[in-house]
């Protein structure tokens, strides 16, 4: 059965969603990701949705779930490359994607993960 490939990039994982996924594939992705986060002790997860023409409430929930599960496993999730038409539609839909960080592209997403990690590490000192 087809799976979405998960690549290792440093201590982050990169997932590029390029097909119009059916629900089962989306569930498989969630499972695969959590397994791999633990397996590689990944500290970041980048989900590239720049090929997605549609993000509906199911996909939105899936992204939010991945972000929540990753956080529990001490990894940061950033969703990158959302298309303008998709963003406009999500706003209209009223889906807030609460708890999901976003960035324009993979590069900026990596910067975000790095920045968050530094903040986390120095968190105790910076309390003011």
């Amino acid at each position: 059965m087809e799976r979405i490939p998960i690549l290792k990039m440093g201590d982050s994982l990169l997932v590029t969603i390029q097909v119009d996924m059916h629900d089962r594939l989306a569930m498989t992705l969630q499972e695969d990701l959590t397994t791999r986060i633990v397996q590689h002790r990944a500290r970041g997860v980048l989900i590239d949705i720049s090929s997605l023409e549609v993000v509906d409430s199911f996909m939105g929930r899936m992204l939010a779930n991945i972000a929540a599960m990753s956080r529990v496993l001490d990894a940061q999730t950033v969703v990158v490359g959302m298309r303008p038409a998709v963003a406009i539609t999500l706003v209209e839909l009223g889906l807030s994607l609460h708890g999901v960080r976003t960035a324009l592209n993979v590069e900026k997403g990596m910067q975000l993960i790095g920045h968050d990690r530094r903040e986390d590490d120095t968190g105790a000192e910076r309390e003011a």
């Binding site: 059916h22 629900d23 023409e53 549609v54 509906d56 038409a85 539609t89 839909l93």
Partner: protein
């Protein structure tokens, strides 16, 4: 380019939800909808197709090109013979607070459409009709 004025797509498997998205996209493009409008149509269709499959236990969607005076539009009619929704108002109101798929899908589809109509009888089934004008 569809040369008929309408098309019926069965919704009996998860793959069919993808198929519905593709067919609605094709129709929207053929009718000349803008990219944002296409996306709204396809997203609404995705929500309703999923409801039809998961809650309605399978059904169909009828895609129709419609016109009204000077405007052109696309009408989608989702129909199933599933359990039906006991309290539609409640389902749609709670859609956002409880986050259950059904209500979320219905209210989401309504927000993305210009016209929204739902008719549901417990024990008989559900019919949802949405229209988006160019």
């Amino acid at each position: 380019m569809p040369n008929a004025k309408h098309e019926a797509v069965p919704i009996v498997s998860h793959d069919d939800i993808v198929k519905v998205r593709q067919r609605v996209r094709d129709w929207a493009v053929a009718l000349g909808f803008s990219l944002v409008d296409q996306t709204k149509l396809v997203t609404a269709a995705s929500e309703l197709a999923r409801n039809t499959l998961v809650y309605g236990q399978g059904g169909t969607v009828l895609v129709e090109a419609v016109s009204n005076d000077s405007r052109q539009g696309l009408r989608l009619t989702f129909e199933d013979h599933g359990p039906g929704i006991p309290d539609v108002q409640l389902a749609m109101k709670d859609g956002f607070t409880t986050g259950t798929g059904l209500g979320l899908g219905l209210s989401g589809a309504r927000r993305l459409s210009h016209e929204f109509e739902i008719c549901s009888t417990p024990g008989k089934g559900t019919r949802v009709v949405i229209v988006r004008w160019k």
